[in-house]
């Protein structure tokens, strides 16, 4: 299933038909805002559909379909920022209920964003030689939010797995593998729906991976897992929100990881849409 189709399938029929005609391949996100027509976000701009305005019911119908009428089960993921269905990242805005034990993360949902997942084969062709030749080094993928980190990580996992190396993927939100929607190569084992740090340790103990991949590391817990894996001699692939090395060094936890030598390479993604550029920086 392609990413656009997966995202469109989550829309209620009335919106789906219109969006299906209007959303081109350049669209990276669908935005549904209460009282506004659907918007299509591309790498450079956001354009509005000429279809009907989104009703509150549409927002709930979409979430109901995506979560299998289990908003309570998705509450944890939504509190962390987003929920994933078939690789489509669903971001939610509305009236957050705060630290409520009763866990009703949003009372009045006012907008949703559906980020369309991509499986872009060949995007790393330009840097493949450097990344895969010789000894495989631990690599950290850098890009700002929506910059293509997950797509690059997915492609890197596939390339490594295809070369016969066992890759364990800690896919916390089922975004990398999309529950089988994306091809991550023949030698890949995926552990989903488990906090990244814990999943990585589980993979290491149970699956004997040569490489472990994690998307969007950030917190202290993730940094702890990276350190532990580094100490076990496992090659790491990870992605993080940052524009460049300077951004990374401004964050104490990341800066420490770099200083400790947990990563030997940075794969930096810049640009947007079809004009993304990839380059590799060796960390001396």
């Amino acid at each position: 299933m392609n990413g656009t189709k997966a995202a469109l399938e989550l829309l209620p029929t009335g919106l789906r038909e219109k969006a299906g005609r209007e959303a081109g391949p350049e669209v990276e996100e669908l935005r549904l805002r209460l009282g506004q027509p659907v918007s299509y976000v591309t790498g450079v701009s956001e354009r509005r559909s000429c279809g009907p305005p989104v009703r509150r019911e549409d927002l709930y119908l979409l979430l109901e379909k995506a979560t299998g009428a289990a908003l309570h089960a998705a509450a944890g993921a939504l509190e962390e920022g987003y929920y994933c269905k078939n690789g489509v990242r669903i971001g939610v805005c509305g009236q957050a209920s705060g630290a409520n034990q009763n866990r009703e993360p949003f009372r009045n949902i006012t907008s949703l964003s559906l980020r369309i997942p991509r499986e872009c084969r060949g995007i790393l062709d330009g840097v493949k030689g450097k990344l895969l030749s010789g000894r495989l080094e631990s690599t950290l993928i850098l890009a700002p939010p929506g910059g293509g980190k997950t797509t690059a990580l997915r492609e890197l996992i596939r390339l490594i797995s295809q070369s016969g190396i066992r890759v364990g993927v800690a896919d916390e939100r089922m975004e990398l593998f999309g529950g089988g929607v994306f091809d991550l190569g023949p030698c890949t084992d995926v552990l989903s729906c488990q906090p990244k740090a814990r999943a990585a340790m589980q993979l290491m103990r149970a699956m004997n991976p040569q490489v472990i991949a994690m998307d969007e590391i950030g917190g202290e817990e993730d940094a702890g897992a990276v350190r532990q894996l580094f100490g076990c001699g496992i090659t790491l692939l990870a992605s993080i929100h940052a524009r460049d090395r300077g951004d990374l060094e401004r964050r104490p936890a990341c800066s420490r990881l770099l200083k400790e030598g947990c990563f030997q390479r940075l794969l930096i993604v810049s640009g947007s849409g079809g004009n993304r550029r990839y380059w590799v920086e060796d960390l001396g």
Partner: protein
């Protein structure tokens, strides 16, 4: 001779009516108990697990009470419309159309329960299920308490009615 035979037939008819009436009552009692227990299972699953509702409905449509299963089977068959039709509407539709013998109040309570499922917190969902289950259990308990009287009444009515018909015909 033919009069005697006819009288016996009418009496037998009255008793069969009584038996059927008792059997229907027993079936309804069983049904209420099973539906309440299915809802309890649903509540437990919602409370302790993260399984989506379609999975739970599937589980109950396969392993739920034999008498109450029709509700979950109907609901499961309509789940393909989810995303275009609200889950609460699908639930209500199944409650209104299922062959489970419920009275008006029970059917309304069951249909209304769908409005709480899927969208709200676990606590609100399990509270709503408990409330509906309580109503069903109460109805079942009332039927159980009245069972001996109802059985006697059914047989009395069946036999008495038949006797009156026989006398009228003679």
């Amino acid at each position: 001779m033919s009069k005697l035979l006819g009288a016996l037939l009418v009496l037998a008819g009255g008793l069969i009516w009584a038996l059927l009436s008792v059997e229907t009552g027993r079936k309804r009692m069983e049904c209420l108990t099973q539906l309440a227990s299915d809802l309890e299972r649903l509540s437990c699953e919602l409370d302790t697990g993260d399984r989506p509702l379609p999975e739970l409905i599937h589980m109950l449509s396969e392993n739920g009470g034999v008498q109450s299963r029709d509700f979950f089977v109907r609901l499961e068959n309509s789940l393909w419309r989810m995303g275009d039709v609200e889950f609460r509407s699908l639930w209500r539709e199944a409650a209104e159309r299922c062959s489970v013998p419920l009275n008006r109040t029970e059917r309304y309570a069951l249909g209304n329960l769908g409005a709480f499922l899927g969208r709200y917190s676990r606590q609100r969902q399990t509270e709503a299920i408990a409330e509906c289950g309580k109503l069903l259990k109460k109805s079942a308990q009332e039927m159980r308490d009245q069972w001996p009287n109802r059985t006697r009444l059914s047989f009395g009515l069946g036999a008495g009615g038949a006797l009156m018909i026989v006398l009228a015909l003679l």
